[in-house]
């Protein structure tokens, strides 16, 4: 491994240093960590350090105006836990994540099974179905904001045409649903938008899993007389479990920690009814300037994230074994 230095004659000092450096770089025990170092330093500085800072903030009285960190114990946590809006936000965060992922779980499996079939125009369906995931959340949520407009919603128009909405109809005397103005409908809207956004990702993951099941397993089951449901429940479901779990866990994290959908669609309203931990931390910490309480609110996300990470590691290990 002498490099390509084939020039005759004595080596100059510069050559020697250059050569030494090259030999040094050829030593794997050194080169390995050296290549890894910049990325690790960056992550420690801008993920590790801020995380520790978030912990410190949550135990202090820091505000945007007074940047000094004075230790106050768990006061921030006891304060926010007694705040009804925080409790509402905590509950909503779970409700939105679980409800939207339950929807996604069912819809993604149905859609993926349908996409396994060959049919004309599949590329178009794939493209249309992918749109929600490919679009920046803040922008696609604006399209929903307009779709659910209190006066001009085309959904309301369709309802009115079908005589479901308006005076003397099943959905009431008003001419509009006020999707984002009524607490239950606003919550439903947030859940549907989340499910709509995550569905493409989950479908593609499930689809990749379905296509990776060897055909001979399915053939063997068919020869043994298994029908669609038996095949689905006893062969495909167990084989697909890790893949579906990964899809659901990702969807869960993305909805659990999201703040764009709520911020753009409802701003947490009506009257904080759709507030989530992320949006509440933003309102407290950035808009309200109470960095300490904002950090404490956001930290409530952490135990759940940790749990999901552990589950993912287990799944990854299981996937390695099989």
């Amino acid at each position: 491994m002498a490099g390509q230095v084939t020039r005759a004659g004595p080596l100059t000092l510069g050559d020697r240093i250059a050569l030494q450096f090259r030999y040094l770089l050829d030593r794997e025990a050194l080169l390995g960590p050296l290549l890894l170092l910049p990325a690790v330093v960056y992550i420690v500085a801008l993920v590790g350090f801020p995380f520790v800072l978030a912990l410190a903030y949550s135990l202090s009285d820091v505000t945007a105006g007074d940047q000094s960190l004075d230790f106050v114990g768990f006061r921030n946590f006891t304060d926010i836990v007694h705040d009804p809006i925080f409790r509402r936000a905590l509950r909503n965060t779970f409700v939105f994540a679980f409800a939207s992922q339950a929807l996604v779980l069912v819809l993604a499996n149905v859609l993926a099974l349908a996409l396994m079939a060959e049919f004309r125009g599949k590329w178009l369906v794939r493209l249309l179905v992918l749109l929600p995931w490919a679009t920046p959340a803040a922008l696609s949520t604006i399209a929903w904001l307009w779709l659910l407009d209190s006066v001009f919603s085309p959904i309301d128009w369709l309802f009115r045409q079908a005589h479901l909405l308006g005076p003397g109809t099943p959905l009431g005397p008003n001419n509009n649903m006020y999707w984002l103005g009524r607490p239950e409908l606003a919550m439903l809207s947030v859940i549907v938008v989340h499910a709509w956004r995550i569905l493409p990702l989950a479908t593609v993951i499930v689809l990749a899993g379905l296509t990776s099941i060897p055909q001979d397993i399915k053939d063997a089951a068919a020869v043994d007389g298994a029908g669609f449901w038996r095949l689905f429940l006893q062969i495909i479901t167990p084989l697909m479990f890790p893949v579906v779990a990964v899809a659901v866990l990702f969807g869960f994290i993305f909805t659990f920690t999201d703040l764009a959908v709520v911020y753009v669609l409802t701003r947490g309203g009506p009257i904080n009814n759709t507030q989530v931990l992320g949006s509440w931390a933003f309102i407290k910490g950035i808009q309200g300037g109470d960095l300490a309480q904002g950090a404490a609110v956001a930290l409530f996300l952490f135990p759940v994230l940790l749990g999901v990470a552990v589950l993912m590691l287990r799944l990854a290990r299981r996937a390695e074994v099989t």
């Binding site: 992550i43 801008l46 149905v110 799944l315």
Partner: protein
């Protein structure tokens, strides 16, 4: 009997996929129709929202978007932040991925998964302390704050993706180059990088779109409108309480959404292979 069953199953496949396509594409369809509508047509709840009324479609509001709003500035900011972040990401993730794939023996796998898990740490958890870090560095209200912070999610994800790619390239090729007298770095540049080009391209596309998607940091760090990116500029600057601006707003959303979706479509399979931690082999 069998024919009926066949056509029955065909019909149900078409029925199911049409319903899903409708559900997924409906907000985009509505946005596309809206952006070309005239105001007197759009703002009348009696009109059919899906058809163009008197006067037909118009480009007036798309023009307005480009000429009288800061949309172009937002787009330039997004492109700028995206391009610089892609550069930083490659500079950090490529060497790290190579090291994890080739040089780190037993601990490489564990460390690789740890780096991937960093991708799961959401902006929502870190934006408050990072706003302080950004302010201390004097980057508040500047798009440079996003350049500084965005690699926190692109680097872990791209390192993981690239690690998978590099592992799939046979070791023999670069060992041959080492025997031929190249240094390790030279061998990698001449043999591995060209072979990893599809992987690098994937990483470029995904880190760029991840920065385009990002909302939380941009919302928390940047409040000067001339420094905002599309993702935050459009919802915060173009949505005005009382001024109805919907056509231009939809134009802004659609002009960004549709090209991104087309590009995404091409690279999605690799993205999925990365996300599923190798549980699915593409």
């Amino acid at each position: 009997m069998n024919a009926a069953r066949y056509w029955g199953s065909r019909a149900s496949v078409y029925g199911v996929v049409s319903l899903f396509a409708l559900f997924s594409a409906f907000p985009f369809f509505w946005g596309l129709v809206t952006m070309f509508k005239r105001s007197q047509d759009l703002y009348n709840p009696r009109n059919n929202p899906f058809a163009f009324g008197a006067g037909g479609p118009t480009l007036e509001h798309v023009q307005l978007l480009f000429q009288e709003t800061k949309f172009v500035t937002f787009a330039v900011n997004s492109l700028f932040v995206g391009a610089v972040v892609v550069g930083i990401t490659l500079a950090l993730a490529l060497p790290a991925a190579y090291s994890l794939a080739r040089l780190a023996g037993r601990w490489g796998e564990g460390l690789g998964i740890t780096i991937f898990l960093v991708y799961l740490v959401p902006p929502t958890l870190l934006f408050i302390p990072l706003s302080r870090v950004v302010a201390d560095l004097g980057l508040q209200d500047s798009r440079w704050s996003l350049v500084l912070v965005y690699p926190t999610f692109t680097v872990p994800f791209c390192t993981w993706l690239l690690m998978g790619f590099l592992k799939s390239i046979p070791r023999d090729i670069e060992e041959q180059a080492l025997i031929d007298g190249y240094s390790r770095v030279g061998a990698v540049v001449r043999t591995v990088l060209p072979l990893a080009l599809p992987g690098i391209l994937t990483v470029v596309i995904f880190s760029f779109t991840l920065t385009l998607h990002e909302f939380v940091y941009a919302l928390a760090f940047v409040s000067t409108s001339s420094e905002k990116t599309i993702s935050v500029g459009v919802p915060t600057e173009l949505v005005r309480g009382d001024v109805l601006f919907w056509q231009s707003l939809m134009a802004a959303a659609m002009i960004v959404a549709i090209p991104v979706a087309l590009v995404y479509n091409l690279f999605l399979d690799r993205f999925v292979a990365g996300l599923t931690l190798g549980a699915v082999k593409g």
